[in-house]
């Protein structure tokens, strides 16, 4: 009988405790959610500079990507590629629905995706490499 009463006591406290476990779990999610909201909207992706012979942009630098990101030598581009083999308006990266695409904007020397010349809009996956002039980039998953 005493064992039963003891078990009952434990069960009662366990029930209360589990409600608090639930609240604690929710609070953890909420705090994480608020922290990430405070950091601003999640990135769609980021572009990391792998190799850059002239040092502009510097290797290792990364750019958070908008839905439309232009690349080229001109200062109006989102990502300025200061390379003699890059055109003023060289290429554009677009996020369409669920996937990234790169499109050449009629550059002189072309845009390469994983070493292959891109003809027309080309779908990209995270991890793919893009080459503009002598500068090589890699598309990476953004912070979420």
């Amino acid at each position: 009988m005493d064992g039963f009463v003891l078990a009952l006591w434990v069960l009662r406290l366990l029930f209360l405790g589990l409600i608090y476990v639930f609240l604690f779990a929710v609070a953890r999610v909420l705090v994480r959610d608020l922290r990430s909201a405070a950091r601003g909207p999640a990135e769609l992706g980021r572009l990391v500079v792998l190799a850059s012979p002239r040092g502009e942009p510097a290797p290792g630098v990364f750019y958070p990507l908008d839905a439309v990101t232009t690349l080229g030598r001109d200062l109006t581009n989102t990502v300025v590629v200061d390379d003699p083999f890059a055109s003023t308006e060289h290429a554009v990266l677009t996020f369409r629905g669920r996937a990234w695409y790169v499109e050449d904007r009629g550059s002189t020397n072309g845009t390469y995706v994983n070493g292959v010349l891109a003809a027309g809009p080309t779908a990209l996956g995270f991890g793919d490499q893009i080459q503009i002039g002598e500068v090589r980039f890699r598309l990476e998953r953004g912070r979420t």
Binding site: F15, L16, A118, A119, G120
Partner: protein, 486 residues
């Protein structure tokens, strides 16, 4: 496959249904399931133990079966079904609202299974349903409503474009209650159409939020300016204030005449809260509070039952066996509960075959929970309501336009404010007004109305939903605004 074929235009593609896991929701639901199973076991064991003690017999084997294992199982199964439906539909909706509501609903179900089952009985054909089963039935219906709204609502056009229609429908429903309604406990709140009966004021609170959100979002900038001056008062342009105040006054008036003071208080508070959210002007809130005090004073003078409620609140011990009976018994129940409570099933001994708190399943569930789960239990329950409000405000903050923001804020605040009003009433912080404790109290109308609110919140939280329509062009036409062109 050539590169061109890969890059086909995808702008006009229909939303493709693609399952998407919801790990957070699953984890939280698992905790809810575990908690409710433990709660059920605790309740069943306590009842068995009490029965054995009353009979003076020794308990043979330990029994930890919940009092209605099938009912609890059906509820938990329904939660799983809703979760699976959400996963299969693949919408990126909020993952915390459902578990929070499920926890509150589950606590309510345990409470209803624990109370004397003949408090409410209803016959459906040849089957007689009792309190616990009826609550389970309404919970299942509510979960269905939540999931249908969360899965199917992709555009809010049907809400924002027909705000006056919705408002008119709500007022009509309320007026019909006034004319054709049936009296329950001296208050005419229940409308019966055919086999369906319900309290329209519960539904009206959702409609009021929809109307206010649509109206305020359309006229927000105009309401924030101060062009009308009455003495020292600076008010927004009257033509834009009038329809809103009229809708609110009609709703409030009908409710007050019916004697449903809880709903009146709720409407007033939601109105002020949304006005503040939309305009950000504290002067509206202060002015509203002053109006509220004046109105309360007038009501106190006019209505006998208001006086009685206030007198009970000020000194329930003046007539502890008459008008103050419920309040006093509820206070005793809270006191018996203490810090950790007496345990599910061990509270509320009947006195002479009667419940000490007669309306324990509708107006006073908090008293029963306070006795059986104690202060810690009540704080946890308040925490759950806080979570729902926080989620609503987060959804509002992330909303794509003002209507959705105001709607999300309003829907969550209406739940939070209602919980506050009835909890404060039960704890004798404010005069008691008879409204339900959302998701816990027994009652189909209440569960259904709150389910609609939660379903809409879930639909609003979907980041991949249909983008909001472009704002409508507005023209000044004096008092009558006609011909708004899309």
């Amino acid at each position: 496959m050539s590169a061109l074929a890969q890059a086909r235009p995808i702008a006009r593609r229909l939303p493709r249904i693609r399952p998407r896991t919801r790990p957070v929701e699953f984890g939280l639901l698992a905790i809810v399931t575990l908690a409710l199973l433990v709660g059920g076991a605790s309740l069943g064991a306590t009842e068995q133990w009490l029965r054995a003690q009353a009979g003076g017999e020794k308990l043979g084997a330990f029994g930890f079966a919940p009092p209605d294992p099938r009912g609890l199982g059906v509820y938990l199964g329904a939660l799983l079904v809703v979760h699976v439906a959400f996963v299969l539909a693949g919408r990126r909706t909020d993952q915390i609202l459902l578990p929070a509501v499920a926890m509150l609903g589950g606590i309510g179900l345990l409470l209803m299974q624990r109370l004397p089952q003949d408090l409410v009985t209803q016959s459906l054909g040849s089957v007689e349903l009792r309190l616990g089963q009826l609550q389970l039935l309404w919970l299942i219906i509510s979960l269905t409503v939540v999931s249908l709204l969360a899965l199917l609502v992709r555009s809010d056009h049907w809400l924002r474009a027909y705000k006056y229609t919705w408002a008119a429908a709500g007022i009509t429903l309320l007026a019909m209650t006034f004319v054709f309604g049936t009296d329950v406990n001296g208050e005419r709140l229940t409308l019966t159409i055919g086999p369906v009966s319900g309290q329209p004021s519960e539904l009206l609170k959702v409609i009021l939020v929809v109307f206010l959100a649509a109206y305020l979002s359309e006229n927000r900038s105009l309401l924030a300016e101060e062009s009308t001056r009455i003495g020292p008062l600076r008010l927004p342009p009257i033509p834009y204030l009038a329809p809103m105040v009229a809708m609110w006054a009609i709703a409030l008036g009908v409710v007050v005449v019916q004697g449903d003071l809880g709903a009146a208080l709720l409407f007033f508070a939601v109105f002020l809260a949304l006005l503040f959210v939309a305009t950000g002007r504290l002067s509206f809130v202060v002015g509203g509070m002053v109006l509220f005090l004046v109105g309360s004073f007038v009501l106190y003078q006019l209505f006998g039952h208001v006086q009685q409620r206030v007198d009970n609140w000020l000194d329930p011990f003046r007539d502890p066996l008459g008008s103050g009976f419920q309040t006093v018994q509820a206070l005793y129940a809270f006191a018996r509960g203490g810090l950790l409570g007496v345990g599910l099933g061990a509270g509320l001994p009947t006195i002479g075959g009667h419940l000490p708190v007669p309306a324990v399943h509708t107006d006073y569930p908090l008293a029963a929970l306070g006795e059986e789960l104690g202060l810690m239990g009540l704080l946890a329950i308040f925490g759950l309501y806080l979570v729902i409000v926080e989620r609503g405000l987060r959804i509002a903050a992330a909303a794509q336009d003002e209507f959705r923001a105001l709607l999300a804020a309003g829907l969550s605040l209406v739940i939070g404010i209602q919980a506050f009003i009835i909890a404060a009433g039960n704890l004798k912080l404010v005069p008691l007004t008879g409204i339900t404790l959302p998701f816990i109290s027994y009652g189909g109308s209440s569960l259904l109305a709150n389910a609609i609110a939660v379903g809409l919140l879930l639909a609003l939280s979907d980041r991949g939903a249909v983008p909001p329509p472009p704002p409508r062009r507005r023209r000044w036409h004096g008092l009558f605004r006609r011909g708004t062109v899309r």
